[in-house]
Amino acid sequence: MKLKGLRDFLGRKSGTKSARTVERQDNRNSEPASIVPAHQTETTPAESAQQEQTPATDTVREPAANVPAHQTDTTPAESAQQEQTPATDTVREPAANVPAHQTEIAPAESAQQEQTPAKTVREPTPLQQIDAETRTEAKRCLEQFMSQAQGLHGAIVSSIDGNDLLAVLKREMPTNRLSGMTSSLLALGETVARESGQKSCQFVIVENSAGRVVCLRINRTLMLTCISSPDMSLGMLLSSGRQTADNLGKVFEKGGLQTA
């Protein structure tokens, strides 16, 4: 009984003490925490229990132990910002660490950078070499071909890599698509001719139920595509097509187009 009474007495005494420390702790929290660092503060059992319950937040705050308490006591949003900031700092750091002499571009280097795009512009493609006069003459040649043969729907001059250059059409057709496809067709035809031991390919003829498409080379870089109705004789189409291709070749050669 005596012992129990002593224990009760001691228990009450410690309870008042702990209450006081809590009050102090509260006061400390209200005070600017920069005066007392967080790791020096005495914690009550209740507080330590709270800390144990929230290990994740503690582990997050631990690295900032040397930082004054007012910086460690942050809202979740702030802590999220803090977590994000190192990433941005690391991004910015290299730029800040780069010495001034490295960021400055040497005059010779800057001159090279300026010259590089200009170089690509200056190099003319075979089609860019064709001047307006040659173009007009070639168009006249195509129009003459169209007027000679009655059954023709259209004629297209294009590069062997599939870019259309000139077109004279009686009805609307997608010349850019046709140029792309006929260039592939001619390339394939030439390969098949070589594989089958028949030397060079002269024409690729696509015989359809409502007309024909004939593809032939003008020179090393250009090709001609003739689109005709089924009424037109194939022999006539091939003959006049070949003649027009030869004429166009002469016109482009005269205009200074490099075919080699």
């Binding site: 057709m173 028949q198 060079s200 390919c201 015989e207 139920s209």
Partner: protein, 136 residues
């Protein structure tokens, strides 16, 4: 799917002898020196050749050629593709469809008559189409 189907059937292709006979009949015309039957995805199935030619390569390239020509036909609004003719300095190569999955290629000399080659090729393709139904 169609490739596997046709390759599987290739080993025990029905009417194989009859197909060979039809192709040989096509070769009887003096101007033609090679006939290849292949799938539209480029696998050679049967061939009858008088010269040493790589039928596999030609079949592969002709399948692309025919597919491209059919697209060109659609783009130019010329309804249906019938033939693709390669006019070369030493001969001609005529490609045409047999049915939905097969195509035929006829290779001829330069002195052959184009009209005759086209007619014989079309007749052979029709005979082959009647022999090979799409199910087989």
């Amino acid at each position: 799917m169609s490739v596997f189907h046709l390759q599987h059937k290739d080993s025990d292709m029905p009417h194989a002898e009859e197909i060979q006979a039809v192709l040989r009949q096509c070769l009887e015309y003096p101007g033609v020196y090679g006939v290849i039957l292949s799938t539209i995805d480029g696998n050679a199935l049967e061939q009858v050749l008088k010269r040493d030619i790589s039928a596999d390569r030609i079949a592969t390239m002709n399948s692309s050629l025919l597919a491209l020509a059919e697209t060109l036909t659609q783009e130019t609004q010329q309804q249906q593709n019938r033939f693709v003719i390669l006019e070369n300095s030493d001969g001609r190569i005529v490609s045409l469809r047999v049915n939905r999955t097969l195509l035929m290629t006829a290779i001829s000399y330069h002195d052959s008559n184009l009209g005759m080659v086209l007619k014989i090729s079309q007749n052979t393709a029709n005979t082959l189409a009647s022999l090979i139904s799409e199910e087989s």
